[in-house]
């Protein structure tokens, strides 16, 4: 019996430890993958999932421990070696060359030659055949840059499947896929399973796990927690305590605050191709949720209000106590001066200065408060204020001189929030505040929102996540096709109604209004 079970195993990792300077990313963990199974990996950000994946795909080498692949103890030297062994990885970020056609991207590195020259005709023919085989249809002569993320992802998956794959690693494969594409992906995953390929599947979307997975392994803080047969897992909520180590009692710890006078007034804001005639008000003590579906244009609203982007017509005004003052277009400085803060979705590009330390990022927008009369930085003051915000925001890091690039997504978001608080604001614009953040940090971000409203600030929260919108807002605005189509007070809102309007099926009167 043990003999057969061993033969059934394509990959097993035993006692794997991986340390980076100052961090133990994986601490004596184990993982095994059977032939023909979909084994899901779950855990919060920073739990060690990606490190494990990188070790299997050869991008990192384990500090200690053994890897058994196809009944042989091996050492995976680099990603090329992994590929030769039949281990393929589809990363979250799709690699492609924008100015080459799909067919050219498909055969990049293994071009089809004829008389020593690339045969474009054959490559296109082969690509077409391949797409047919996997039930996907797209013109192979299209330029890669003209495709959307979902199409690119499908193509990179098909490209991997074209090889003799023994182990396939999928890192958040369904992010930004449409339902139809997701079904197609799942269908192909099932075909692969039948062929005996072992599949490692990482996803933050716990609902998907039961749909596609056979087993799941849970990691937490670099440690192996458990491996479960997904059949035996009743509800996904059973997995959450394993992931975070304690139960999340309340995923949305909303505390209602006293709602006061209007703080922010946006009138008739229009940016061509993005949104049209957007008017809204945000009051003191209020969380105004803005919801819509992908492509509804709402994520650009807070960016324009803050001045990160331009807009054609309309005004943004802020209550300055006695009167409303207009915020200058395209001037984050003007917005900040008038106490508007913006917490971007894209932390890497819009949010943080990755090569600088936590403390420097926190004081970046108000450095002038931490300099002496002759312009020298008061470093002790900077350190003290940073420590203060570390405690308030519960930022987890070795120290405040740590570069923010070494932090997890949740902690990075806390640093951005700390910067906003340090600068001081009255109106906080959150753009998808918890995108890509682990469960525990999410709750802490929500608590920070509660704190803000309790102190009489106004919060505008733009999000694609309906539970979050329902859970945290006092008032909800729904956008469709670049326009506001409906407004609900939270008491009157239901998921069905909201979705109806978000899909553009609300009644026409409202759209006209």
């Amino acid at each position: 019996m043990p003999q057969t079970s061993e033969n059934n195993m394509i990959l097993s990792l035993n006692n794997i430890t991986k340390t980076f300077p100052g961090v133990v990313a994986l601490d004596d963990v184990q993982f095994e993958l059977r032939k023909g199974e979909v084994h899901t990996l779950i855990g919060e950000n920073g739990a060690g999932k990606s490190t494990l994946i990188k070790i299997i795909s050869g991008a990192h080498q384990a500090t200690s421990g053994e890897i058994i692949f196809d009944n042989e103890k091996i050492l995976i030297k680099d990603p090329h070696h992994a590929k030769r062994l039949g281990i393929y990885t589809i990363y979250q970020e799709v690699m492609y060359i924008p100015d080459l056609s799909i067919a050219e991207n498909m055969f990049l590195g293994s071009e089809i030659l004829k008389n020593g020259l690339i045969s474009h005709r054959n490559q296109i023919k082969e690509t077409r055949k391949l797409f047919e085989k996997f039930g996907y249809s797209i013109d192979p002569e299209k330029m890669a840059k003209d495709l959307n993320v979902a199409e690119l992802r499908m193509i990179s998956i098909i490209k991997a499947l074209n090889n003799d794959v023994k182990v396939l690693i999928l890192d958040e494969p369904t992010a930004s896929l449409t339902d139809r594409e997701k079904d197609l992906l799942f269908k192909n995953i099932r075909l692969l399973k039948e062929k005996g390929t072992g599949i490692i599947y990482i996803s933050h979307r716990l609902e998907e796990l039961k749909e596609i997975g056979d087993r799941t392994t849970v990691f937490r803080n670099g440690q192996y927690i458990d491996t479960l047969e997904l059949e035996n897992v009743k509800g996904i909520d059973d997995l959450v305590p394993l992931m975070i180590g304690h139960e999340v009692k309340d995923k949305f710890p909303k505390i209602k605050a006293q709602i006061g006078e209007p703080l922010l007034r946006v009138k008739g804001l229009t940016r061509k191709g993005f949104f049209k005639n957007v008017s809204l008000e945000c009051h003191a003590g209020e969380v105004l949720g803005i919801f819509g579906l992908v492509g509804c244009g709402f994520e650009d609203v807070p960016r324009s209000v803050f001045g990160a982007e331009d807009y054609e017509t309309g005004t943004v005004e802020v209550n300055s106590g006695l009167s409303f003052k207009t915020v200058k277009k395209q001037s984050p400085k003007s917005a900040l001066d008038k106490k508007i803060s913006y917490i971007p979705r894209d932390r890497k590009h819009e949010g943080l200065i990755m090569n600088l330390s936590i403390k420097e990022n926190i004081v970046m927008s108000c450095y002038h408060r931490f300099v002496t009369a002759i312009g020298l930085i008061r470093r002790k003051a900077v350190r003290e204020i940073a420590n203060q915000y570390r405690d308030i925001m519960r930022i987890k890091a070795p120290n405040m001189s740590t570069k923010v690039e070494n932090l997890s997504g949740g902690n990075q978001q806390k640093v951005i929030l700390a910067r906003s608080l340090c600068h001081g604001g009255k109106i906080f614009l959150f753009n998808e505040p918890t995108a890509g953040i682990d469960v525990g940090s999410k709750v802490e971000i929500y608590q920070a929102m509660n704190q803000l409203t309790a102190e009489g600030s106004g919060v505008v929260m733009v999000s694609y996540e309906l539970p979050e919108i329902m859970g945290m807002s006092d008032r909800i605005i729904i956008m469709y096709n670049g326009q506001i189509v409906k407004e609900f007070n939270i008491e009157d809102a239901s998921e069905d109604e909201i979705l109806k309007y978000a899909f553009g099926h609300g009644n026409d009167e409202n759209i006209a209004a």
Binding site: A308, H349, I353, L356
Partner: protein, 326 residues
């Protein structure tokens, strides 16, 4: 004399906590620092004259010119740009300084290049920042403009017959230390404070790291970019004043080689073109390394042609080492 500059550099490092120094020395310039020491020892063994005080002073003087312009170059490279016009700015500064000193005296001739360099630098920065153009393209343009202007002003000839006091800037010694070395050390100390202890300095690093995020924190990034090039121009102007004084004339083609050397010093010193990474200490080591190498080869009698090949190889090696470290 190298020792003097080294200890000066060590003094700078003392501003940091001991732990930070260790990490810095280890990760950023540790390797180059030890290679520099090794180079000095090897040169000294091959030709003991290399280790004499007199020769030390010669090396320090050579290094002092390059250090200023390399420091300016570092600021620009930190923003993930490059300034290829710095050499041409020296030429323009040199001829204007010479002509001004003939008209208005030596002091005016010493000060003018600072303003000329600063003005060209600000112009570079303004175009780069406000029109969002690649700094290489812009400074390539100013390189040609400055060269042209220098030739027009000087009618293509070296400007001679400067006031006799003009050369004192480069030839005065204070306690046997040449004045240019002292000026450079003072300027570098000032730059150290600017880079590490002022808002502007931190913004330079932030520009290289993520300029969009910096803009969204309400910082006027265009102005910061403009001043980065401006400061690079000012440093180049100071360098030009000292160089012109040294040759006691104004030459339109004075700084051609220095521009490449300034980039080389930055690269050897661990400043990466990606932006946001690099420090002044590393650049100083890079400058000393190039100066020692050049001087040592002269003493040993290696031809200038071979020297070029070696320096080029070292630049590439430095980049490879930098890459491997990651």
């Amino acid at each position: 004399m190298e020792k003097k500059v080294d200890s000066n550099f060590e003094d700078m490092a003392k501003f940091k906590s001991p732990k930070e120094i260790l990490t810095k020395v280890h990760s950023n310039m540790g390797m180059m620092f030890f290679i520099l020491i090794a180079l000095i020892i090897v040169m000294g063994v091959i030709n003991p004259r290399f280790l004499t005080i007199n020769n030390g002073i010669i090396v320090a003087r050579q290094a002092s010119f390059l250090a200023l312009i390399a420091c300016g170059q570092m600021l620009v490279i930190l923003t993930s740009g490059v300034d290829v016009s710095l050499g041409a700015i020296i030429g323009l500064c040199s001829v204007t300084a010479a002509i001004v000193s003939k008209q208005f005296g030596a002091t005016a001739g010493w000060i003018t290049p600072i303003f000329v360099g600063g003005a060209v630098g600000l112009l570079n920065g303004a175009v780069v920042a406000y029109f969002r153009i690649d700094s290489f393209a812009v400074t390539l343009g100013t390189l040609s403009i400055c060269n042209g202007l220098a030739l027009i002003i000087s009618r293509g000839l070296t400007v001679y017959n400067l006031p006799p006091t003009y050369k004192t800037l480069a030839y005065t010694n204070v306690l046997t230390i040449p004045l240019p070395v002292i000026i450079t050390m003072v300027v570098l100390l000032g730059m150290y404070i600017v880079v590490y202890r002022t808002q502007f300095g931190r913004y330079i690093y932030a520009c290289g790291g993520n300029i969009e995020a910096l803009r969204l924190t309400g910082v006027n990034v265009n102005r910061v970019m403009m001043w980065i090039f401006g400061v690079a121009g000012v440093l180049t102007g100071i360098c030009a004043a000292m160089l012109s004084s040294r040759i006691n004339s104004g030459q339109p083609h004075l700084g051609g080689a220095l521009m490449m050397e300034s980039i080389a010093a930055c690269v050897v010193g661990g400043v990466t073109f990606k932006g946001g990474v690099g420090n002044l200490g590393g650049v100083v080591i890079g400058v000393l390394f190039l100066a020692c190498l050049s001087n040592g080869f002269d003493l040993i009698g290696v031809s200038a042609f071979v020297k070029q090949v070696v320096v080029g190889s070292i630049i590439i090696l430095a980049v490879i080492v930098d890459k491997l470290k990651k």
